[in-house]
Amino acid sequence: MTRGLLIIGGGLALALSLACAGSHPHLDISPENYPLYSSYKGGPARAGTVVGETGRSLEKLWQIKFRLPLYYSPAMADNYLFQPGSDKKIHIIDINNGNEVAEIKLRRQLGCSPELVDSLMAICEDGPRSQLLVVNYLAGRKVWSKSTFDLCLPPAIDDGRIFWADGQGKINCADLYSGELIWSADLKERPDTGPVLEKDRLIGTLADGSLICLSRNDGKMIWKTRGDRRTNSSPAISEDRIYVCFGDGGVSCFDINNGNQIWNHADKPRLFYSPSVDSDGVYYGTGDGRFVKLDKNNGSILWEYSTSLPIRGAAAITDNAAIFSSLDSKVYMLDKRTGDLLAVNSTGGMVTAAPAVWGGRLFIAGQDKNLYCFLLGDQQ
């Protein structure tokens, strides 16, 4: 039984694809506070860590096939997955059996994973006339939208506020519920990545290679580094340190207080995805198929694991494991302390979306058009 919500032209219309009686989809979601509804990367700091043990095996529970390839990870709320498709829809999937229970149709292509807080979902529509949309997915109603001026980067949400970058070189902050603009910082340069939040600060990167730190309260610049390295992915923040994967292959650590570089690790060029960070390491995948763990304190290599093809998508780090996927159509689970392989399983095609972990399960959105659910079994 599929029900849908349809948003057309900025206004909200109700589900077109009602397969049974009832004018309103019913989702059995009990809104709770962050981090239950945090984004796929693990909250506004986008560190990629997930609390809890994940076991030592990957057993495929179910998979659901979509019409078009999947590029972005699902967001999770209670027993539901919110999977962005290339068909301009958010598919709402029952986490237990993989059944699609509803869909939200948008007007344009989606450019990131959705962010969920309470009953609200924020997402960016990509392409010309891109915009940021906030939707009440329970009520089936668009709450508000803002143009992002041909730039589509994932927004960050925390404490009732939403922060996003736009193509006019600005980072904006608005009330999540009303869309009322609280501040807008004119950076005079196009942002490269979506904003990341940590305590009272907002971290971003610009097309001129600089790293910026703004006050999340009023958008005032706290510091700005002058660099010539660009990044393709949001920084990760952990314990007052910022970790960035750069396009030139460098992985760097900066002090969040002043922007000073603490260490830099040079790797092969062309890093495309964010690092993941936990209490003792920085994790990232490379184009030549290596998954690397660096010492969080000095950037030295602790271990690395090789696959046959490029590793794409940020990793999910749990209490005991590092989980990542690769263009070789496989999902790997490594012992995060030693780098030893714990488990591996296959998908039907290349994967570029980050793995999402929730409730002892792993969700992989593949470019083979399938969403996979694996049971993270054999918990110790």
């Binding site: 078009l68 390839p69 590029y71 290339s86 068909d87 301009k88 292509q109 990509d126 392409g127 010309p128 041909d150 196009r190 097309a207 660009r230 393709n232 396009g247 030139d248 060029p269 062309r270 890093l271 495309f272 184009g287 030549d288 198929g289 046959s308 093809l309 490029p310 794409r312 263009l327 070789d328 159509s329 095609g349 290349m350 570029t352 470019q367």
Partner: protein, 929 residues
Amino acid sequence: MERLTLIAVISVLTFGSASPQYYFGQNKVQYEKFDWQVMKTDHFDIYYYPEEEEIAGIGARLAEESYAYLTEKFNHVIDKKIPLIIYSHPSYFSQTNVVPDLLPENVAGFTEFFKERVVIPFDGSMRDFDHVIRHELVHVFMMEKITHNAKSHGRRNPVMPPLWFTEGIAEYWSEGWSKQADMILRDMVISGRIVTFNRLAGISGTYTMYKVGQSILRYLSDTFGDDRITLMFENWWKAQTFAQLCEITFGRSFAEIGRDWEYHLKKTYYPEFENKDLPAKIAARLTRKYYNIKPTTFALEDKDGCKDFIAFKTIRLGYSNIAMMPLEGEKAGFRQLVKGERSAKFESLHFVDSDIDAGVDGRIAFASKSKESDILYIFDPKGKKLVFSRRFEQVSAISSPAWSFDQKMIAFSGTGKDGANDIYVYHFDGDSLHRLFDDIYNDQSPAFSPDGEFIVFSSDRTDMHGADLYAYSLETGAIIRLTSGNSFNTSPSWANQSDSIVFTSDRGGSPDIYILEHPLSDNPRLYRLTNLATGAYDPSFSADDSAIVFSGYQEMSYHIYKLLPDTNAEQIAHAPGQVWEQSNGWQPERITGEHLAGKMKYKTKLSFDIAQSALSYDAIFGTVGGLQGALTDVLGDHQYYLLLYNTGNSRHNFLRSTNAAVTYINRQRRLNWGLGIYRFYNDYDDDYYGYVEEETYGGVALASYPFSRFDRAEASLYVRNYFKQTLRSNDPDAAVATPVLSYIKDTSIWEPSGPIDGFRLHISLASSIEIPSLKYYNSAVTVDVRKYFRLSESSAYALRGVYLGSDGQDPQRHYLGGSWDLRGYPRRSFYDKNILLINNELRFPLVDRLLIGMPIGALNFQAIRGALFVDAAKIWGDTNRPWIGSFGFGARVSLGYLTVLRFDFSKRADKNDIYGHGFDFDFFFGWNY
């Protein structure tokens, strides 16, 4: 009545011909029999034949390495096996049936996009092999990525990249940057000929375009990061135009990027010019125009005494030739010696890849492709004739023959079916050929020492990514490495009267001329003679060693220069030569068991090659909608053509009006043959017969045998039942057999608006016999002869004569009049049993490029040509008309793919009068005659 021509044309055009080109056209000849095998690897099906198994194994490994590399570059995995077809030599590659087109010699490989087949020849150089495999795979990945990206986002018609980008990224992601590319860009900047972004279309398809594209991609990568180019492909679905895609990805407008790239080039190359020269500033330029390379000197005695000459290769008016001129230059005299590319004897002179060499007595040794393999030729410029030719069974390709000083031997670089490129020595005494090496290394450009004890040659045997000079001792067999370093040292030539070798080396950044004195002594001395901003190639001493001639690159062209060696030339530190051992050589790695799934014999497996719902225009049927399809195997040797369409105009005659045909063509061997069945029905109004209803069904057998690239014989036999109903009497309803014999010759070369040089001939005889009575029914003759007299680079006088005749109890009526044949008269104004048509046309350039601005984009017309013409025709048989004719003028606008839009303004005339007021106007779309 039988309409032989019509049936033949319909049958052959719709089924496909047994020959790759019907009516005219040059031939792709399958000289060799290949026993095809398949090697299956992780991501490729490698097609090869047993003789080249080693090369195929190496190619498989290189392909897998490229696959991993490009997966990362494109952020994309291709989840189906990519067919990679490998030939061990370019001459075999030119026989491929994967595409029907004749492949020019400078095509180093190609990707066929419908089935994504990659076809690559091994040219002897492992470095080139690696480069070309990766280059072609960039094309495969790019098309896959763009298609996947567009489909994933619901875009049906993604933006197609411009050719400069397609080839530029293939070059940049396969070889990065190169000294060759540097030379071309440097010359472009210094000569003030930078191709700006808005003029890129003007160099489309040229080698310069490849290098300019490579330069732009390099600039984008260096400026914005190589990762941004990958992101460009991720953004592909978002853009409506390529310029918009650039802006989305790089945050700069296309025009801004163009300006910045130009500025970057100037900033890079202008400072280099301070210490460098151009060829024309340090040497005397001896040739005036066109392309001129590969000079070799000799002395000849004439009535005025002994005189020094230069023989060289030149491309003039489209053909490559060997010519000679005095050492003073072309102004003092020019003589064409060998005309290439116009006959089976000199099919290709291997313009770029093979040197020529004049012996002490002036006889010139050169190699040319002639039918199935290369032939070693010797031309005597004094007697002005070819004095020697020799084909070697074990060598299919010959390159750079070189005389010994006693003229008893000729050394050359030869290639067998295994693809290995080694040095051979031919001894005139005993007519014997000796292979000096048998290895995978690329050995090129041999040259004898004056004492005949050594052969110096260029080889990659130590450095796969470069080339060094080696000396081979004919007495001991020892190999001595004369040069070293990460560079290309090529084209060695020994001095006539001193112990010195002159050669080209790019060790200084660009190809320059160096002299190595006493190369085999303990104290060799190396001098750099030039320091060019562009490049110098193929140096050779004059007969008395007082001068060095070379081909130099400047202002996007190659010319012959004469350099007087500078006695103060810069000396370069140089170590004595060392004996080269086999252990010094690199060993090619083949694909290993881990990535090799198996090998098997090739089996024919058909898949759709072309499948489309097509509209076609037929002179009789008019516009018909139809389903055309082709099923072919991977190698293109077996081809099935399917045709299904309907000419009905109501429900009632739908079934009856269904036309269908199936034909099989076999192109595996030199004799191409085919079989087909068909059923055609149509009813229409005809000028001669009035209302016509006709139905034909039967079978056809076709065969085509090429004698060479330029001529062939064709035969076909139609056996069919023929029913025809007209308003006239004697309508046939019988089974007939029609054999057709044809001879076709075509040496023409084309410019965008039509043929401009050469000769074309088509003779066809057909006769119909009733079955089973074997009673003669009718016959037809076609003679079509066309000759093009080249007047200048873009102008020619074209002459066409056509005779169409028919005979028998129901002879065919031929039609005349209209823009295609007799201009100035309405289409099909005349019909009769015999027609003689003569067209005379003077073709000349009007506008080379016309850019018309439009609200969206611009219309770009290339090569608009003017014409003055005179037509004459004689028609007889049923009637006996006097000669009629017309004259006029017109224009031809090239529409690409050699098609033109032809506008003609004409006046009718006969031998007494000129008729009509003003001019009649005709237009024509298609191939110009």
